[in-house]
Subunit: 180 residues, 2 copies
DNA sequence: CGGCATTGCCTAACACTGTAAGTCTTGACA
DNA sequence: TGTCAAGACTTACAGTGTTAGGCAATGCCG
């Protein structure tokens, strides 16, 4: 009886992402992932040491993807670019809720997530016109992440979350000394 | 053979909170909770329909507690009170990380959490001087929640999260048209 | 006071998790 | 052709939430 095809790391990640999208966080288990790949759960441990390692790979993947989306923005004033980046950040979080949740789990920030943070920092510093303006970047990111979190948990009634997003973002930028 | 003491709902909540504090989110399981109470896991289902219901009770408890902390602040200008409330919010989140995480899980916002939200809204509206200024309150809460989330996940290096908190809060308030 | 229903506990068991141990199959290379 | 490593397999364990069914003790009602 021949064994199934050899499984590649790329295929595993792809299947895992797909399961996350379709079934949410609960949809991704070692067994469901294995089944999607046509193998048995324990075989996955030949490729990833444990679930945590697999998740780390997913997080890295997500960070790279999001960072790319943010870096692609090249047109407009720094303020306009920041606004656009914020929109994309929010879109990403809502388009891939389970992946985003995974990315935002407590964990030491290294590698891809670190690079993502640097991108946010640069985008923000361009607006405040102060290099390495961590305070502003931190506030910005906090606002972004907090907003999408509250949004996802349905904290806002029908009373216009979208409006609050733009308003808050503007307030933050104004407060940090730059409008436009 | 006499059965152990009759278990009260209050005792269950108390034990659950304690487990949450000491062992984090993983420390609270139906079995560990039962053991802490001197009973067996299935017996818990006489008191709470399922784990979700139990968690809802914990969330409600946390919301009431936090709301009380925020409402206690009576002195100072609206801006000063808001600042102090923000500090307390952050302290609460860090003092009870697991409980706070539970409170911030996606779930329809009703009852105690709703009341908490109203308190935040009032605190914020007092500063912007516009009744029912949801946009400002939303931005504020997003900032608060986002900040503590990122803080908890270690997203900020040693580069002064504390500074970023005050700075961001001020920026937000300035941006919404009121300093002091 | 006696009977009875409700309440709260029990044990046993099911369907899931992640994961460890040990074995078989396959393809590549000496 | 023989050997070896990679990747699959089966089996099994401990732990999760949860259900089913039964015993004990409390409180109510005649």
């Amino acid at each position: 009886m021949p064994y199934p095809t050899r499984t590649t790391p790329a295929a595993i990640l792809e299947s895992a992402l797909q399961l996350l999208e379709s079934g949410g966080a609960d949809g991704l288990t070692m067994r469901s992932l294995a089944e999607a790949l046509g193998i048995k759960a324990p075989s996955l441990y030949r490729h990833y040491a444990d679930r945590a390692t697999l998740e780390a790979a997913l997080v890295a993947h997500g960070a790279v993807q999001l960072q790319t989306m943010l870096k692609e923005i090249a047109e407009g004033t720094p303020a306009a670019r920041l606004r656009q980046a914020a929109e994309r950040y929010r879109e990403f979080a809502h388009a891939h809720p389970a992946l985003y949740a995974l990315m935002m789990q407590p964990q030491p920030m290294t590698g891809a997530p670190k690079a993502l943070w640097n991108t946010v920092l640069k985008l923000s510093s361009a607006v405040t016109k102060r290099d390495d303006d961590t305070a502003a970047a931190v506030a910005l990111w906090a606002f972004l992440h907090g907003f999408v979190s509250l949004e996802r948990q349905g904290a806002f009634g029908a009373s216009g979350p979208q409006a609050g997003f733009a308003t808050g973002l503007t307030a933050l930028m104004v407060g940090f000394g730059k409008s436009s």
